[in-house]
Symmetry: none
Subunit: 238 residues, 2 copies
Amino acid sequence: MKILVIEDNPRMASAIQKGLNAAGHVCDMCISGREGEEQASTGEYDAVVLDVMLQDHDGIDLCRNLRRREVRTPILMLTALSGTKDKIAGLDAGADDYLGKPFDFEELVARLRALTRRVTDLDSALLRYGDMEIDMPRRRVTRQGKYIELTNKQFVLLEYLIRNPDRVLSRAVLGQNVWDMNFDPFSNVIDVHIAALRKKVDRPFDKPLIHTIMGVGYMFSSQPPQGSSADDSDLEQN
Amino acid sequence: MKILVIEDNPRMASAIQKGLNAAGHVCDMCISGREGEEQASTGEYDAVVLDVMLQDHDGIDLCRNLRRREVRTPILMLTALSGTKDKIAGLDAGADDYLGKPFDFEELVARLRALTRRVTDLDSALLRYGDMEIDMPRRRVTRQGKYIELTNKQFVLLEYLIRNPDRVLSRAVLGQNVWDMNFDPFSNVIDVHIAALRKKVDRPFDKPLIHTIMGVGYMFSSQPPQGSSADDSDLEQN
DNA sequence: AGCGATGCTAAAATGGTTCTGAAAACGCGT
DNA sequence: ACGCGTTTTCAGAACCATTTTAGCATCGCT
């Protein structure tokens, strides 16, 4: 899941980022309201964590602006005061949820999950596709019952693949959803990571799940793309 | 267990904190009602100890407010008077138990344990995981029958680990649950304590129980997150 | 078959995270 | 106030993940 954090206290910001990364999310930071508003309006995030107290820009205003601009990304507001007044003002401005500082970090993660439940379908703890299973809380991947150890990035990438199966995913899309805003579209990082994933996830097994679609991207599927055997119904070329 | 104490008499507050620490609990203090109410509403505590007599805020009111805000954390009230009137007023406001000052410290600990019995599952006196055993009342840890001596913090940390096994615990989560509110997310205290624990709990034995998940946190488990069960032939990582 | 474009992969470079031992700060009991 | 044990900070080392690089393999088209 990709989350934007708008928070101008650098310590707090960086703490939140680390925590969300550890929870398996991709996370961009904006340290000013202006920057944050622009970034949020790209619509590329699954959720926004927004501090109400910002130097350059009131969080409430920022929230209202975004909604006026038809940005529908779920917004979770962070307030210093847990007074009901602030809460109402925030929800009124279009925030979806609200958390008073100081807050319980697990609660932040839980609420983000709740906010994006629609997006993430059921927030099933178990992702499954074919003979592959990902146990999210245990952070464990198995295929045919065998454990597969992955690094953090590999795990996030595989999670994205398994959540978007049977669909061609361009490098641009993968870069946008699995990497943060510093992603360089000219590098071949994605290829390298796909290769690493394949080595662990596909090579030891008979049936590959990760397929290359030349000139387009990759596809995660138990069915190889383009019927290899029987019919090759005509595809439009361009 | 994490407990919030709301008490504006500094001597009393510090005495309670020390005592609860000694009983193996993590303990945050609030010296004013306002502050206490905010803190309590984070939902991060297993119980709240609340003095009825506060300068800025009546304890009874505070309790009622919390309940109105749907905070369900067990609350134990401390009253100067042991009159029945106060007791009834407190329980009426939503407190779960009540203790008249002066009180026997062991009674406070016992009542807190009773209040949180549901939370802590059965308040099992014996925690067990694999060949490790923690005898809570005696505060003793053994592995393969051998006693292991731990400092207080090490003990509390290990207790948290053994109560949350087979789950990846991020530093943020550990910091929140094993340290008090002054925890600094940028320090490496956790790493240092984990190292100390490992030296006593893992190094002398063949099978490590504490595993590092790089970029994420730690996991307490007898099943290492790695190691494909089949072959371990090639040592290529990545 | 040949060619250029595209994808793959090993290995080096980079950058970041974790570990460790020692010193400093703190807290407790005397 | 002093000394002792615990907890925290710090800095360097070791370790690991990620990215870059560069050469090779493969694909699709002519």
